[in-house]
């Protein structure tokens, strides 16, 4: 009898206490909502092709984190919390000791600030700064396009976000995933999942968001400007460029050093011509592995309690504002340069300054070609485009310095 009762209790308990039953408990519906949000982001990644390399792992991490009882959500917010979790010193609301799960270990690389710099290493090893070296003035466009970050910051403060949260939301305007994750993991880790998802979504939407703004702010004449051929760049210049940028930026703004430094190390490994073996490893093996772990663990930070509230809804609005203002900032500064250079700079390439490499540059190319089919702005737009990566790393340094 005892046996049959035990079996019955076990089988019954499986079903009555499974995740399904949890959904009908107090607050359990939130997890269900999160699961459907995860499905939505998976659909965006798979069907719509929105930055699938990160969207799919993030969405899957979100799904796993919200399946009740699976212990696949990130359970700590700072390094001390990680140590406490390992040592069995963290408890949940009911006083049960928490045990560390897979996502807690994978998330360590985010919280420690290791994954984003390693991804920057890989991006650096894939980026060609030739256009920027040949035409340094386009560097300024990559700076101007960071304007959206600071506009979004003001609005976020007005919407009663903390300064740290406001800074994390604002950095979405940098149009740079690893930078956004790096800043948010330091300033407002509780918003990490939402901000990462918003950042990658808007980056995927660049071809939709940018063109109307670009057209609204420029005249037909400006958009028709055909730019001069870029000068050739020597190997020596390509080697000295990453070293110079690292030294100048890090000395002026130490908090931008880790992102800019790793980006430039990756580029140096590529351009030195002596270290192809490890440059390849940085842009392939290392980057792919880190991408999986970053995406999955960032997604796993979205427990139902932290993700689904009014503050998250604001991220969607503010992220769009940041993007749009960044585009406008780049285009407007492009117009200034158009005047200064007496029509030698096409303002459209300013929009590429938001980074989102290489999509924003392609958008500039496309818009330019609409006015003049034989106008090829792509190479000229690559300058602001890659400078946008550096620009948003610098903006990240400013935010970290002021808000940390």
């Amino acid at each position: 009898m005892e046996i049959l009762q035990g079996v019955w209790e076990v089988v019954r308990s499986i079903f009555s206490n499974s995740g399904y039953a949890y959904f009908f408990t107090d607050g359990g519906y939130k997890n269900l909502i999160m699961i459907f949000i995860a499905f939505f982001f998976m659909w965006l990644g798979i069907k719509k092709g929105y930055e699938p390399l990160l969207m799919i792992p993030i969405a899957f991490g979100m799904l796993l984190a919200n399946l009740p009882g699976a212990n696949l959500a990130v359970q700590y917010h700072d390094l001390q919390g990680f140590i406490d979790l390992l040592a069995g010193r963290l408890t949940d609301a009911n006083g049960n000791v928490l045990t560390p799960g897979l996502m807690d270990f994978l998330y360590f690389g985010v919280k420690a600030g290791v994954y984003p710099p390693l991804i920057f290493l890989g991006i650096g090893a894939m980026t060609d700064f030739t256009s920027l070296i040949a035409n340094p003035i386009s560097f300024l466009l990559g700076a101007a396009a960071q304007l959206g970050i600071f506009i979004a910051y003001v609005i976020a403060i007005a919407m009663h976000y903390d300064p740290q949260q406001a800074g994390s939301i604002a950095i979405i305007g940098g149009a740079d995933g690893p930078t956004a994750i790096f800043v948010t993991s330091k300033l407002a880790p509780e918003m990490l999942g939402a901000i990462a998802v918003a950042a990658y979504s808007y980056m995927a939407l660049v071809p939709v968001i940018q063109p109307p703004i670009m057209k609204a702010l420029t005249t037909k004449k400006e958009r028709s400007v055909v730019m001069q051929t870029l000068r050739p760049v020597t190997k020596k210049e390509k080697i000295i460029f990453p070293i110079t940028v690292t030294v100048i930026v890090t000395l002026l703004l130490p908090d931008a050093g880790v992102l800019v430094g790793m980006l430039m190390l990756g580029n140096l490994l590529k351009e030195s011509g002596q270290t192809e073996r490890i440059a390849k490893a940085a842009q392939n093996e290392l980057m792919n592995i880190v991408t999986i772990m970053l995406g999955l663990s960032v997604g796993a930070t979205t427990s139902a309690q932290t993700f689904w509230n009014v503050k998250t809804l604001g991220i969607i609005v503010l992220g769009l504002v940041a993007f749009a203002c960044g585009t406008a900032g780049g285009v407007l500064f492009g117009k200034i340069l158009y005047v200064i250079t007496r029509g030698k700079i096409n303002p459209l390439i300013g929009a590429a300054g938001v980074s989102a490499v290489p999509m924003a540059a392609r958008v500039a190319q496309k818009e330019g070609q609409k006015e003049n089919p034989s106008n090829f702005l792509l190479m000229h737009a690559m300058g602001p485009n890659v400078s946008g990566v550096i620009g948003s790393a610098v903006a990240a340094g400013v935010l970290l310095t002021l808000l940390k």
Partner: protein, 144 residues
């Protein structure tokens, strides 16, 4: 000495006050622009130094030098011998660049583009050491 340490001595606490917010929103873009402006100045100076060194070293003919400077200083070159065979090529854009860009655009956008020569692809500014790295660049520069 760290900047945030200094900010503490300035009594600039990170809060939601208008004062601090204005500080962020004004100093933020200023600093970004200033840092980048310093880089621009250094790059411009360095570019000039490189060219001067190259000139001294290579004993360029005046003709070649003019051509190259024309491109860099933004002056229109008076004449381009290879301009005629490519009717669509506009001022300041060499046919090789057109071809290279056409190929790049075609690869990225899938739209038709007139490719006049296949040779310049070898000089494609996107470094394509191996097909896997090239695929990686095309595929992976997208998300970041």
């Amino acid at each position: 000495m760290n900047l945030s340490a200094l900010l503490n001595t300035l009594d600039l606490v990170a809060d939601s006050s208008p004062a601090f917010t204005s500080t962020v929103v004004i100093s933020g873009p200023t600093i970004v622009l200033a840092v980048i402006a310093v880089l621009v100045i250094i790059l411009v100076l360095f570019g000039r130094a490189t060219r001067r060194a190259a000139d001294a070293k290579n004993h360029l003919t005046q003709h070649e030098k003019d051509k190259r400077d024309g491109t860099i200083n933004g002056k229109k070159p008076e004449k381009r011998e290879f301009r005629e065979p490519l009717p669509a090529a506009p001022q300041g854009v060499s046919p090789e660049i057109v071809a290279a860009i056409s190929a790049a655009v075609y690869m990225l956008e899938g739209e038709g583009a007139v490719v006049t020569s296949i040779r310049p692809l070898r000089k494609n500014p996107i470094s394509c050491r191996n097909p896997w790295a090239a695929a990686a660049i095309a595929e992976n520069t997208k998300p970041f």
